[in-house]
Every structure is written in C-alpha cells, then in structure tokens.
C-alpha cells in the first residue's frame, strides 16, 4: 500500500501544495493503489519551534513511502530519510497535478535541503 504524502495549504478540493513543509496547514495522504485521498492537520503547525521535526515525525508515523514537497529543512529531511521515505521535489499549485506528475515519473528527487530555521 504505497502512500504518497504532500504538505498542503487549504483543504479539500481547494488545497494547494504548501511551500512550507513544517508549517503546512495539513498533509494530504494519497494511496496509490486505492486512489483514496485523506487529509490530516499538520501537528507541527502550532509548534513554537522544531515544526519540521514534528511534521516529519507525523509523516513517518503515517507510514508514508513517498513525500512530495517543494522544499525541505535539513532536520526534516534527516528524519524522513532515516524512515526510508523517498523524497521528490514537487511542483507548486494543484495537488492532483503534482501527484499525476509523480506517478508519471516526471518529478526529480529532492536532494537539496535548507538549514533549519530555529529562531534565536
């Protein structure tokens, strides 16, 4: 049951791919076998710090196999990689388009991460 996860802003049919991973409003979980789409609120969103860490923990706990995101912080990427999750660089905008692009093998692997943003 391969699960693909995307950080999203907005919910339901109006949701878009979120530019932020740790501060995304929610995660869209797409089951590539059943085609089922579910959403769950991002637990990292309300964190005062370490949002990316919290969000990555959630994605690991969901049992995700693949994450599609425009960008990722280094801490989140470390957790996701340790969890054996394949990372791909998503497009922005419509979530269905991004999933379709992933399924068609058009998304490049996400290899670059940005430094963590813990405020002083």
């Amino acid at each position: 049951m391969p699960l693909v996860v995307l950080p999203v802003a907005g919910s339901g049919s109006a949701s878009k791919v979120s530019d932020s991973f740790g501060r995304a409003e929610a995660f869209l979980v797409y089951d590539t076998e059943s085609g089922e789409r579910t959403e769950q609120p991002n637990q990292g969103l309300s964190s005062s710090g370490g949002a990316g860490i919290k969000a990555a923990q959630q994605v690991v706990d969901v049992g995700a196999n693949v994450l599609l995101a425009p960008q990722l912080g280094e801490n989140a990427a470390k957790i996701l990689r340790a969890g054996g999750i394949s990372l791909f660089k998503s497009r922005s905008g419509d979530t269905s388009d991004t999933i379709a692009a992933y399924l068609a093998g058009e998304l490049p692997p996400l290899t670059q991460t940005h430094p963590s943003q813990h405020g002083a």
């Binding site: 964190s47 860490i53 923990q57 957790i79 963590s116 813990h118 405020g119 002083a120």
Partner: protein, 277 residues
C-alpha cells in the same frame, strides 16, 4: 544599577553609546551582543579571564531504550524524534530542560555538556569590560546572555550593550536591566524601531528613555514619537563625520577630550535623574 542599551536594528549606535557611557562613568561595560560582539574593538583588555558557557543535551542509549516514545511526546520543542526504531536527537532544538531524562522509564537518557560559548572580563583603564560570545554555528545565544547577566556583580553601574532588534536575546537583556536606553537614528526607520523596542520594554515591565544618534536639525520625528509615548529624550549625539572617523579607528570618544566626554556625562546625569524618579 543595570542599564540596557537597545535598538531596533544594528548600526544605530548601541556600542558607541554603551562604551562611552561606561567610559565617562568609570563603570562596567557589558557586551551582550553575543552573536556579533564588537565592544572589544573599543575596550580591549590586556588580561582576560574567561569561563565557558555550557548547556546540557540528552544522549539516548539505544540498547536500553524500549521505544515507548514518552520523551518524544513530552518534548514541546520537538528536539526528539522516533524513527527507524531509535530516538534521534536534534541538539539545536533542545532547551536543556532535562525533562526527557526524568521521564524515561528505562533510564536510557543521560545528559551531556556542550560548550556553546564563553563569558569574559578584563580591565581597560578604569572600565571593567565584560562580554559574552557564542561559538560559530551555535543556534541560540540565550544561555550565553543569561550567563553574562548572572555573572555580573550587583554593585556599581553596569552599562549593557544589548543585542540588536527585538529577539529573545534582547528580551533577556531588557529583563535583567533596571532601565532601558533606546538608541535611534532620526529617520522613519528610527521611529519604527523605537516603537518596536518600546513595546518590548513594556512587555517586560521596564521603563525606558531615548538617545538620538546621528542627530540633525531637520528631522524631529523621533522626538515627536517620544512625546506621544511619554519617553524622555536623554541625549542627542550629533551627526558628525569626526565621530564616525574616531569610531572607525576604535577610539573611545569620552577619553579624547572634555567636550566629547561631556556629551556622555550629560546623558548620565539625565539618566540618573529619570531612574531616580
């Protein structure tokens, strides 16, 4: 008596004001801009006593850990994660509360020290020069600022050169002070900055006054804001290329001649009067 010199941005003149007030008063100068300390360019002690600043971070013994995740769920700073059957520690997110080690039912978590910076002090003429600095790459200087402020002797006058802006570092500095001195340039940006740092001082219940640096006759917007907020203007340092030149050479203005010293003595006098009110 501790006076915190603050401003909404770097380059407003915090170090100029703090160094020269300390020099004019033969007081203690304290550099709390631990991310980019620069007071030592003006006050350079020949003999320095330094002590390390350390924080504790959790270390998890994988063989003893049962994977209950109590530590991960407890940490509100998200410094711990559970992945691939082990706890992952993110030291830069840790606030050293030690709660995870207390909670761990199997005793798998111990704490180790990490050196994140240092506190130093030394004499320059009759000025006791203190300061702190974080190690490059360290994310938060808050523990360093706290250790500097905790280490200060209670006696005498301490003029604290604060970190720029309204960050946690500035908040810690303001909170430790008896009175805050805001340094601002007479510009729209300066007005914005005074308003911002004034809010910070209100948040920690500290009174404040304002010194206008690079003052010209043209722009009175900072004075107008001070009148609106009820803040005393405790001094004006003229916009003067000679000051900029002396500053660029690392000279302490208050030690150059009586006229320059008097500018800061006047600020000290007005400061003493408002603090006593």
């Amino acid at each position: 008596m501790k006076i915190a010199v603050l401003s909404g941005k770097g380059g407003a003149g915090k170090t100029l004001v703090a160094v020269n007030l300390a020099a004019a008063a033969n007081a203690r100068y304290v550099d709390c801009d631990v991310e980019e300390p620069n007071g030592h360019l003006f006050l350079t002690p020949t003999e320095v006593a330094a002590e390390q600043v350390t924080v504790t971070v959790p270390v998890v013994e994988a063989a003893t850990c049962t994977g209950c995740r109590k530590c991960v769920d407890f940490c509100r700073f998200n410094a711990l994660a559970w992945v691939n059957d082990e706890v992952m520690v993110f030291e830069e997110a840790c606030k050293s509360c030690g709660g995870c080690a207390v909670l761990c039912p199997s005793g798998a978590i111990s704490e180790e020290l990490r050196v994140i910076g240092h506190v130093h002090q030394g004499m320059v003429n009759s000025v006791e020069a203190w300061g702190g600095a974080i190690r490059p790459g360290v994310v938060s200087g808050v523990p360093v600022v706290q250790q500097v402020l905790r280490s200060l002797p209670a006696n005498g006058l301490s003029v604290i050169d604060g970190p720029p802006g309204a960050s946690c570092l500035a908040l810690e500095t303001a909170r430790a002070a008896d009175y805050c001195l805001l340094v601002a340039e007479p510009t729209k940006f300066g007005v914005h900055n005074v308003r911002m740092i004034h809010q910070l001082t209100v948040a920690v219940d500290r009174r404040c006054g304002v010194v206008i640096n690079k003052a010209t006759d043209g722009d009175t917007s900072v004075e107008e804001l001070c009148a609106e907020l009820g803040l005393p203007v405790l001094g004006r340092i003229a916009y003067d290329p000679q000051i900029a030149l002396a500053n660029s050479q690392g000279l302490v203005l208050a030690w150059q001649d009586d006229a320059q010293r008097q500018v800061f003595v006047d600020i000290l006098d007005r400061l003493g009067a408002v603090v006593a009110q």
